[in-house]
């Protein structure tokens, strides 16, 4: 039972990590809170669902949805954020809130307001032992998240573009002077971040068997909590915070019960942790 709950928490935490990663990376270099990243989560879920309904191939629908949403991320940074970068930070923030609302209403117009089911059959079965059942969607979420985060880790730690990203996050102006094409770094950042959010959206759609226009709402708020908890723009901190919140939520909801809705737990945890450690779990500052 406890193992089952821990696994459940890990699954939830994985999804949170993927959802918050794009916005964490963006905050890391531009100091902008990209709320619209949670819109990419809903776009990804819808794209994945429609591709699955029309092709019946889950692999194809993942690939297609990720590519489409990644491209959307590229367009967003190029035509929304880059033009307002030299304005005060409130301008891009409001732009991102506007875009987020636009995405939700666009999805409502195109796909209708009702909740759609997302029942996909995966090419592998559940893992069953005497005490434990891991259903295929859980396996998918844990494996895919681990793979994507490992890929991101490799990119940041060992490649030239990763080094450029880290330098830009530490001192954007000097990185530019050293020859780092900031526009390119930002473009890759959005491409990757929106692709991650799309992946999370599809997986959550499958996990809860539901896709709906405002499905990005709660993730948007939680994403903000996770970015703050993770130390503002620190990818490793965000993963740690996401897994921790996933586990805390699941364990409290499963064992202790809580007088507030489950989704409130993340924010209670945020308040408590910020009271103890105001700089977040892992601060970037020395």
């Amino acid at each position: 039972m406890i193992v089952q709950q821990l696994l459940n928490g890990l699954v939830i935490g994985s999804v949170y990590a993927l959802t918050a990663m794009g916005a964490t990376l963006v905050y890391g270099i531009l100091r902008i809170l990209d709320l619209a990243n949670a819109g990419a989560y809903a776009i990804g879920a819808y794209a994945g669902l429609f591709l699955y309904l029309s092709t019946g191939n889950i692999l194809l629908s993942f690939a297609g949805a990720i590519a489409l949403t990644g491209f959307f991320g590229f367009v967003v940074q190029r035509y929304l954020y880059i033009p307002v970068l030299d304005r005060p930070p409130i301008v891009p923030l409001i732009a991102s809130i506007g875009l987020f609302i636009f995405i939700q209403d666009l999805l409502r117009l195109v796909a209708g307001p009702r909740i759609r089911e997302f029942q996909a059959s995966l090419p592998f079965g559940a893992i069953k032992t005497e005490t434990l059942t891991i259903n295929p969607t859980w396996i998918l979420i844990i494996v895919l998240t681990a793979a994507l985060l490992a890929f991101l880790w490799y990119l940041l730690a060992y490649t030239k573009i990763g080094l450029a990203w880290r330098a830009t996050a530490q001192d954007l102006e000097i990185a530019k002077a050293m020859g780092v094409n900031i526009n390119q770094v930002v473009a890759y950042n959005f491409l990757l971040g929106y692709a991650f959010a799309a992946t999370a959206g599809i997986m959550v759609g499958m996990l809860y068997n539901s896709v709906f226009p405002t499905m990005g709402d709660v993730p948007a708020y939680k994403m903000l909590a996770l970015i703050v908890l993770g130390g503002l723009g620190n990818p490793v901190g965000t993963v740690a915070a996401a897994v921790m919140i996933g586990l805390i939520e699941t364990l409290i909801a499963g064992y202790i019960g809580f007088f507030l809705p489950r989704d409130a737990i993340a924010f209670v945890a945020l308040i408590i942790i910020l009271l103890i450690k105001p700089e977040g779990l892992m601060s970037r500052k020395a």
């Binding site: 450029a164 880290r166 002077a177 050293m178 020859g179």
Partner: protein, 234 residues
């Protein structure tokens, strides 16, 4: 080699540079002197593309680079040592050097230039895996210079080498820059310490609240009564 022609630059509504013109010829060692807030760093940032002039032109080797993005200028042969060193705090010494050589496409050249930097500053080699923020101020200054030299610049732009350094370290750094100059690099040096700057530079500009008020050879500036009173201390 580098020409600034009637540059006006602003931060928001406040004007930092008024009609500034500079002309630096290949092989020169030029300094800009001026009080705090005169606009020296702003000139450097205009040259590097970090501040965009409202009016005027910047020409480099006959090319108009006024509107070129900063990251394309590194490849033109600029080496920049910014005010306050600005090494990347959470990168290692070696990673800082790699970013300095970001525009080098040939890995062999990159590796060779890192080795050259280590030959020049053995201290950096000892600390190659150390995070830049854990180094002393003097070591960080060495790193900032080494980083600027990574792309084999033709023009070295140095913004206040003396800040926060012991006098002996300042002399040491200036001697190093003189050596680089003798090897053929053109140098533009901004310096608080006018005495020392004029000793090393061949020519100087005096900047007063965003305007160039005087331009002459170092030997003439050292004798100029106004300059002596304002910058060299009586």
């Amino acid at each position: 080699m580098l020409k600034l022609i009637e540059i006006d630059a602003f931060y928001g509504k406040s004007q930092a540079l008024h009609n500034v013109s500079l002309d630096i010829r290949a092989g020169e060692f030029v300094t800009i002197l001026g009080a705090n807030g005169a606009g020296k760093s702003t000139i450097m940032k205009c040259i590097m593309g970090l501040v965009e002039p409202k009016a005027g032109r910047i020409e480099y080797e006959g090319l108009d680079i006024t509107r070129r993005p900063a990251w394309e200028r590194a490849a033109l042969g600029f080496g920049y040592v910014p005010e306050g060193r600005r090494v990347f705090p959470d990168l290692t010494v070696e990673e800082n050097l790699k970013i300095g050589g970001y525009k080098l496409t040939d890995t062999k050249v990159l590796v060779r230039n890192i080795e050259k930097a280590y030959d020049m500053f053995p201290r950096l080699k000892e600390r190659r895996r150390q995070l830049a923020k854990t180094m002393s101020g003097g070591e960080q200054q060495m790193l900032a210079i080494a980083r600027a030299l990574m792309p084999e610049p033709k023009l070295l732009l140095i913004d206040e080498i003396s800040m926060g350094l012991m006098p002996i370290m300042v002399n040491h750094s200036l001697a190093l820059i003189k050596k680089l100059h003798e090897e053929g690099i053109t140098v533009l040096l901004v310096e608080q310490n006018a005495n020392k700057a004029l000793k090393f530079a061949q020519r100087g500009y005096i900047l007063k609240t965003g305007r160039i008020t005087l331009e002459d050879t170092s030997s003439n500036l050292i004798c100029n009564k106004e300059v002596v009173e304002a910058y060299l201390g009586a």
